[in-house]
């Protein structure tokens, strides 16, 4: 029986002894039990540490949707091999995934048991402002023949991260897996179309090809032509698949339309076929025949593509071979604006030129930056995935953020994105990145863009720290294991800064103070404030660390008796594990002022004493002379007194 601390949402226990690999849609999954009811019909899908769960979807999906493995809860629990884990709890799928029992489906079953139920789910998700982005055969489930298909969970990883390229439109399949973004419902419709086609064929098309080739083939021929043109399919399915795999997402049928397959089939959008060149333009050994494939080739091989752009080959090819003078002129204008920039700006200028050229050549293409392709909302997961494992990509991403490339990219295609919002976001990202000190930089951006990303500090490696309230217990454990550790490192500071709402700004800003003493003090105050606000439990290990660290501050007090008293009191408070009273005791500005003033008074008194002692030591001759004078006067006085007394006696007798 799991301890209450190991229950997710206070009720779900993960049964690590019951792995359910077929239920996670490619992610690790285990059985889960509702401890309050004893019901074991749940699956816990494990979240990978650097691929955070979808916070927005988990927040929005509070009500279950029929035909979808909706999230019931999410949280941390012990994972396999004794490591910390984070799981998303869903109902157990009703049966095996479709990929496990793939065979050609009849048309009626495709429409009634697959397309309609899936379209209904997508319609409800669309109404909630969500996309699924994990529609693939190993994430679609069916209780048995004749039962409707159920969409698997899509919440335990960034959107579309585990989608094979064949299920994604070319503009998404070409992206980094973590950078595909939430996309639109049209992208779900595209994946649904691929699944429909696969079920109709009884196999996944192009499954034998690698991802890059799949994307290139789709771009060269168009998705439908590349996947289904040579297949024999029922006419209704052919029409539906053609519409669902339209290159332009705006041309794909909506989920509502798909609920009526006959209407969806009858909807035809006349898309102008792309211009095809007479002769190809070869970029890095890849022949390109139209503008989209050229854009893809430049995005994949930016240096070779840039060369073709700068030496005019691409423009000439567009004008003469492709016969698109308008596009050639726009590329020429772009080059004219960018050619003048030199020096350190040149590298960035080249990257911007490439990005803008790709955007001009293929308005559907994602943002490409020095070989990295992604959608702007995929930036956070891309950063998380590249963190600590791909420094080259991190450097490129840093450049992307610093130059606000997302804003420039969006400015080049304002009709296909929310340009004002992306511009604001790009500026905000840059501000976070350029924030100096412990609480800024890439770590800050990383946590700000990934609300459920756990803290990646080595100090919290043994735990899954995804919320602010979990920071202090993790630090307590780390410091207890190794008292020489410093509990605040850049990841911890950035995590706190990103997760805190307000109230800790002063301490977080002071972490980057140029004076080491101020920055140190800010660390102590930060820990104390966090304990006071978020974790009102004793932290004896952190308190002992704090007592050790603040010892020099105690030594700054002048009065020795007060120092001893403070050290004793500090030791007592450290045992109680309360940080704020310890800090208040050590800092105590009023007491320190009084101590300093008393020290000044004492110093002045000591100076006077020293001076007087010196005078006494040097005053021997003076005292001798004074004694002589006084003695003589005394003798004279005695003589005079005796004389007066004798005269008085004589006068009276």
């Amino acid at each position: 029986m799991a301890s209450p601390a190991d229950l997710i949402a206070g009720r779900y226990a993960v049964d690590l002894a019951a792995p359910m690999p077929a239920c996670g849609g490619g992610l690790s999954a285990f059985g889960a039990i509702d401890q309050t009811t004893g019901d074991d019909g749940f699956v816990a899908v494990q979240v990978q540490r650097q691929a955070p769960a979808r916070a927005f979807a988990l927040q929005i999906l509070t009500r279950p949707i029929d035909g979808l493995l909706s999230p019931l809860a999410h949280g941390r629990a012990p994972g396999p091999l004794g490591k910390a884990g984070y799981f998303v709890i869903c109902h157990t799928p009703p049966g095996m995934p479709l990929a496990a029992q793939l065979h050609p489906w009849p048309e009626a079953a495709l429409l009634e048991q697959f397309l309609r139920p899936a379209a209904l789910v997508l319609e409800q998700l669309q109404a909630s402002g969500l996309t699924h982005r994990a529609i693939r055969l190993n994430n679609l489930f069916q209780a048995g023949p004749g039962h409707p298909v159920v969409l698997g969970q899509a919440w335990a990883a960034p959107p579309a991260m585990h989608q094979p390229a064949v299920y994604e439109p070319p503009y998404s399949g070409a992206c980094l897996p973590a950078g595909r973004g939430a996309g639109t419902t049209a992208d779900d419709v595209y994946a649904l179309g691929i699944a429909l086609l696969s079920l109709a064929l009884g196999r996944v098309p192009l499954a034998e090809l690698d991802e890059v080739t799949v994307v290139r083939r789709k771009l060269e021929r168009g998705s439908y032509a590349a996947l289904a043109a040579e297949e024999r399919l029922p006419p209704a399915i052919t029409d539906l698949v053609r519409g669902m795999l339209a290159e332009d997402p705006e041309h794909r049928p909506t989920p509502t339309l798909l609920l009526d397959p006959a209407a969806a089939r009858g909807r035809r959008v006349a898309a102008r076929p792309p211009r095809h060149a007479q002769r190809p333009l070869t970029i890095a050994g890849t022949p390109t025949w139209d503008a989209r494939t050229l854009a893809n080739a430049i995005a994949v091989e930016p240096e070779q593509g840039l060369h073709a752009l700068r030496n005019g080959t691409a423009e000439l090819w567009l004008r003469r071979e492709l016969g698109d003078a308008g596009l050639a002129s726009r590329i020429e204008d772009l080059l004219r604006h960018r050619l003048g920039e030199t020096g350190a700006e040149e590298t960035r200028s080249d990257a911007i030129l490439t990005m803008r050229a790709v955007s001009l050549l293929d308005p559907l293409a994602p943002l490409c930056w020095r070989g990295l392709n992604m959608w702007p909302d995929g930036l956070g997961p891309v950063l998380a995935a590249a963190q600590d494992s791909d420094p080259s990509s991190m450097t490129k991403l840093e450049e992307l953020i610093v130059t606000e490339a997302i804003s420039q990219w969006a400015g080049g295609r304002p009709d296909r994105c929310d340009f004002p919002m992306l511009r604001v976001e790009a500026r905000q990202n840059r501000a976070w990145l350029t924030t100096r000190g412990l609480a800024g930089g890439l770590p800050r951006l990383l946590y700000a863009l990934n609300p459920l990303l756990p803290c990646l500090s080595p100090l919290t490696a043994t735990r899954w720290v995804a919320r602010l309230t979990e920071v202090l217990p993790a630090l307590e454990e780390a410091v207890a294991a190794n008292p020489k550790l410093r509990p605040i490192d850049p990841h911890i500071a950035a995590f706190i800064a990103a997760r805190t709402e307000r109230g800790l700004d002063g301490e977080l800003n002071a972490l980057s103070a140029p004076k080491a003493a101020i920055a140190e003090s800010a660390q102590y105050r930060l820990l104390a404030q966090m304990q006071a606000r978020l974790h009102r439990q004793p932290l004896p290990a952190l308190a002992a660390w704090l007592a050790e660290q603040t010892r020099p501050m105690v030594q700054q007090w002048y009065n020795r008796a007060r120092r001893v008293e403070l050290e004793q009191r500090l030791g007592e408070l450290a045992q109680s594990g309360l940080l704020a009273p310890m800090l208040a005791l050590v800092e105590d500005p009023i007491g320190r002022n009084a101590d300093a003033q008393a020290a000044q008074v004492a110093a002045a008194e000591l100076a006077r004493i020293e001076e007087e002692l010196a005078q006494i030591a040097a005053g021997g001759p003076q005292r001798t002379a004074q004694g002589l004078r006084f003695g003589q006067e005394l003798a004279a006085g005695v003589g005079l007194t005796v004389l007066a007394a004798v005269l008085a006696i004589a006068a009276l007798s």
Partner: protein
């Protein structure tokens, strides 16, 4: 413009004139006082310190012992014979000279005693100050050389 220092005139001749007048006009008193105050006069000559502190004390003590013999000379006719008669009394002369000796002793001992008292007071004060200094150093951790 600086004034020239005043010239110090010797009054010895005037003192000699006075003494001569007394010897001439009252030889009895002169003989009596001369004998009784002889130690004081001797001290006056020997004491070279400014203000003649030792001679002053000896003379004062001697003068105190001169009062009864002078009264006795006054009442016995103030003659030289009466003065000689008084001087012949060993008690009179002895008392005067012992008093003079006591004056001398007092003049020598009083400075020594007062110096000892002052020194004791200074030492006592220094001891209290050192104790206080030690308290301050221990309480506040000041650096103190301890030199005096």
């Amino acid at each position: 413009m600086a004034h020239p220092p005043k010239r110090q005139h010797s009054l010895v001749w005037l003192q000699g004139l006075g003494c001569g007048a007394v010897v001439t006009l009252a030889p009895g008193f002169a003989a009596l006082l001369g004998a009784l105050l002889a130690p004081g006069l001797l001290a006056l000559m020997l004491d070279r310190e400014p203000g003649h502190p030792m001679a002053r004390c000896v003379l004062l003590m001697g003068m105190a012992t001169c009062v009864p013999p002078i009264e006795a000379l006054w009442s016995s006719g103030q003659t030289l014979a009466a003065a000689m008669n008084l001087l012949g009394d060993f008690q009179v002369l002895g008392t005067a000279w012992i008093a003079a000796a006591a004056g001398w002793l007092l003049a020598e001992a009083a400075p020594l005693g007062s110096r000892l008292v002052l020194e004791a007071l200074a030492r006592s004060r220094a001891a209290r100050l050192r104790a206080r200094r030690q308290e301050l150093v221990e309480a506040w951790g000041f650096d103190s050389t301890g030199e005096e």
